[in-house]
Assembly symmetry: C2
Homo-oligomer: 324 residues x 2
Amino acid sequence: MGEEVDVTVLAGGIGAARFLRGLLAELAERDPAARVTVIGNTADDITLFGLRVCPDLDTVMYTLGGGVHEGQGWGRAGETFAVQDELAAYGMQPQWFGLGDRDVATHIVRTQMMAAGYPLSAVTEALCTRWQPGVRLLPMTDERVETHVVVEDDEGRRAVHFQEWWIRLRAAVPARSIVPIGIEDARPAPGVLDAIASADVVLLPPSNPVVSIGTILAVPGIRDALAATPAPVVGVSPIIGGAPVRGMADACLAAIGVETSAAAVGRLYTGLLDGWLVDDADAGVALDGVVVRARPLLMRDPAATRAIAAAALDLAADIVAARG
Amino acid sequence: MGEEVDVTVLAGGIGAARFLRGLLAELAERDPAARVTVIGNTADDITLFGLRVCPDLDTVMYTLGGGVHEGQGWGRAGETFAVQDELAAYGMQPQWFGLGDRDVATHIVRTQMMAAGYPLSAVTEALCTRWQPGVRLLPMTDERVETHVVVEDDEGRRAVHFQEWWIRLRAAVPARSIVPIGIEDARPAPGVLDAIASADVVLLPPSNPVVSIGTILAVPGIRDALAATPAPVVGVSPIIGGAPVRGMADACLAAIGVETSAAAVGRLYTGLLDGWLVDDADAGVALDGVVVRARPLLMRDPAATRAIAAAALDLAADIVAARG
């Protein structure tokens, strides 16, 4: 890689945000002129109490901007919950979504800008002028896409918003299907396709392969752009030895009939990946036409996370070099 | 007065709320079956950050419901300001309006219900199911009315929202005129006219005669209903010895060319009042066709406030008795 490297990253929430922090730390030393564009999942978005909430975009923004609650990996540090407590006192539902006071302000700004006619991409850019995340953060689309999950339990068969399944039901009720509603009519947000086409490297961090990376890839045009980009596309497995690194990706994979393994997730990205970073526990994995490399993948601290990002960049560089 | 007395009160904010607390304390002993309907001013309402704020209705609701910040007389006890601080960090304006976190929840509930199509009267009733203020609280109208003030200063001649004049400019910039925008098209909210027509007593607490009581009276139909009601209408002067009891009523009176005196304010209510309670300092005041009675009017503590409310009820009873 030369100077002014353009790195494009597809991102879900917590896992991607931490990976990105490691990536920025690595690039700061390796290539200070590098530019990182993040294409964020917006299918987790939800409207609560009339406020538009974008959990994944905010997690990336807060994490890279230094405002995140480090312990939980999402939401704001030093958060309070007066608004939510009061909404509960008024009998308002839902109460299962943790909506902090500081976070509410972000949603108020977003909701007001959207009501004024600004697309989500412009709103996200405006919010980032405060947070200065050190990346260009793009929503995957400006259209409204919301993942719903069909479940069946004592309350009957029904579709619930992904957030309700994930948070209230803790993904413990099996998902019959997972449907990103509105995805067929979604168009990539301005800059998304170009960020993939003109990138020097494209990275898929260890995000949920179904509801994060999967929905980004499901936006018409994005999968094709990834398949066509001349840049090496390197993914980091979110599965280590048959279990998700964090979160409940196994419940999502089960819903789409895919086993929870580094190999199976790699195959989900068939035709897109040039390199696949797996954990030492999955050292035997092989994928047709993909350079698979094994190393420790637990993002247990900033140094370990940065080393994973470095390994992904190294793998991409090796792939480019091998092409001659 | 007999049993099941219906008392109807026209109310602004802090002054009215305190008077109402005294009134309820007095009625609890004098006539526990009495029913109080409050017709609240809504011309101070403002939309901030996409949230609909009704300062006077909320002040009455919080005060009678036990949630008010006693020291300042408005807003919530134990309030925090995380949302507002964050909005400021995003560069959002205005910052001159004190918007607490607990208070924000009230406005979120209101805004969401209004967006769902509920009129303000239904929203207010819903909010009161939590607060149980002990009165039936009605907005003067379900239509949107907003008082604007024409001012001229270094920033030029312009109209500003009443709240901006009152809070940011501290009513220190002379008002060229005060205009309740939308008042011509406003209709009394459901129950308002009947509450006046069927009342046994109608009281005007010591609220601002221009921007509180004045705007309520300016809703088409309300002044006529007051003039026509068989109930005695008794007002409590908000002016003591040429100065407002609290607030900046003098700046409002100056704008409409009325002197700041108990007599002049009483004359504003010509044709409506049957009784006018003034302070001992204004003992000489006389109004045609109105029984004027002087007594201490400073609401310096709950006992003094209750005694003023008792005096207003006594004056109403005496007026009825005098009619034979």
